[in-house]
Point group: C2
Chain length 112, copies 2
């Protein structure tokens, strides 16, 4: 079981900003998972990996693919109070789900 969080590297987000966006996505996708997947993932050490995408289009594609595959997922748009324009898509989380299912959607992306 794992969760992959894909964040945009092309926005020039600061480290703290990036971390907050990743945490938003992680929590929101977690809440989309059913109770059994939540428990299994937590029992497994709630493995999370943070991956990079280089465009908004890439995020949308990952989000769409996770949706088609029926995996828990969440796309985060920034409220735009600080570094970004309001509504900018910043991160998408996929899972918790089986490693195989998550890899099928995010497997060819590089670590952030």
């Amino acid at each position: 079981m794992k969760q992959a969080i894909v964040a945009r590297a092309d926005l020039g987000m600061g480290e703290g900003k990036l971390a907050a966006q990743v945490a938003h996505a992680s929590l929101q996708a977690y809440e989309e998972a059913d109770g059994a997947a939540q428990r299994e993932w937590k029992g497994d050490g709630q493995k999370k990996i943070v991956l990079r995408a280089d465009s908004e289009a890439d995020l949308f594609e990952i989000n769409e693919q996770a949706d088609v595959e029926g995996l828990p997922h969440a796309l985060i748009r920034d409220a735009g109070h600080t570094q970004l324009d309001p509504g900018t898509a910043t991160a998408v989380a996929v899972g918790p789900a089986s490693d195989r299912a998550v890899d099928a959607v995010t497997g060819d992306l590089a670590l952030y």
Copy 2:
């Protein structure tokens, strides 16, 4: 309502590693909160701020203070598979709770 996640800046964690530790702490403290606090925070846009600490001792102190104040909190130790020694304390999350209560514990820390 907000949640503050305090991460160590003295460990030289990479950006993705930092984001994963912050997400661990965020989710774990969220699960410690009661249902009313969870709902109120989410209705409020689940505000998260990421702050910096410069030592393990600082993290322990924040964790202890949150405990004394009765706030949801979670201290994360890294499993040590990659960049860090096993058991290294990396981040602590405080809240979701009222802004005032969170600020009483983390208010004098700088943004990460």
